[in-house]
Amino acid sequence: MDAVLELRHVHAGYEDRPVLEDVSLVIPRHRVVGLVGESGSGKSTLARVAAGLLAPASGQVLLDGRPLSGRRDKAACRKIQMVFQNPEGSLNPRRRVGRALEEAMVFHGAAARGEAREKCLRLMERMELPADALDRLPRAFSGGQKQRVALARALAVEPELLIADEATSALDVSVQLKMLDLIRALRAERSLTILFISHDLGVIRYVCDEVVVMRAGRILEAQPAGDFFLRPQTEYGRQLLDSVPRIDF
């Protein structure tokens, strides 16, 4: 199997607080892997390790089969992009969206200076953002639009792996659905590989091919989504699934 990213027996944490314990995970190319768990389970720490933002205490992180160094080099930056719960964190409030996107494209060689503007326009259009979006500052967008701008910024450099960490959790439910539909469509068009982190199993089921369940810094189970939702392998997986509010009529 062709893996974009692989974690092998990773232990990682902060100062004296270990978080991840012996985490091994494969993210196959062109697949959407859903990472689910409750607060404090280590989902975001895993995302940071996968993105090369946090060096593991032990174990290996392989990007395209090569070890990812603790400090992000330029190539790794381009290959792995992230979208966070709060889009403001990844947008400079004083820089117009167009300029931020063009700079990222040119810096990472995703577009020549002359063609960057045109590429950005097409990207904005694909994100269903208004035509003048490129000339606006981040604050001139609604929450849902802002998150689509953050997604555009991440996709502008044509990454190999997109890590979405609770990217739709702060949005209103109807806005969330729109964003998820967009991610599903883009994923098909661009053959994206995504590590999709969420605490919401309904969301995971809607967008993911595989489900990985984490608890207390460990991976408890990992299997294709279709199988997980019918037959979770662990007691905790069953508990999570049974806790989702249901409407049975």
Partner: protein
Amino acid sequence: MDGDVILGVEGLNLYDRAGNRLVRDVSIGLRAGETLGLVGESGSGKTLTLRSLVGLLPDGVREECAGRRDNPNCAMIFQNPMSALDPLCPVFRQLCEVIRIRQRTNPAKTKARATELLRRLSLPEELAVSDRLPGSLSGGQCQRVLIAMALSCNPEALLCDEPTTALDVTVQRQTLALIGELQRERGFAVLFVTHNLAVAAQVCRSLAVMRRGEIVERGPVRRLLTEPAHEYTKTLARAILPVSRREA
């Protein structure tokens, strides 16, 4: 269901400082033991409506009420349980304080009632003899402490503002079940504000859907979810992302 409306408001309008209307002509009425879910997305005015009912409107919001209003003895629980407790005061002392003031009990009786409530809400009983602060409890435990405080007022109505939104799903499930149990046990009315239709459906018999300060549709839960009439209710119903029922 028969009986008088115990919690309600007719023709409520709320305005901000600049005179913009935030809530338009909202009428709500709950009889004893009834459960109503107020559902809508951010900015729909659901929380403001709730706050107006308990007289906790933020500064600068002006209210006008065309018809009658009924405010029973009610208690409220909030979205973020951590910030609703004093972080520097032991949890048990905070619970006792509410009981002493609302029930005018002597110290011994206050402690006995507080301990009883800890037990009923499955909170660790050692809280009664330790000085544990809210920070040492989990979010779910803090929310149960707040529910205990609410119950100690023997409310006729419990107002809930997104009480499980900040909680993990397994804890959310326990908390919703607990609210339902207590409601049946004690017969108080529940007004439950949430953005999540599926959560509202767990606790409430009927729903009112709010959008941009107005109630756009109301009715029994089942009818609203199976045959929503208003376009916005349909949008909300579609936004519920279900998980399949697992094989037993």
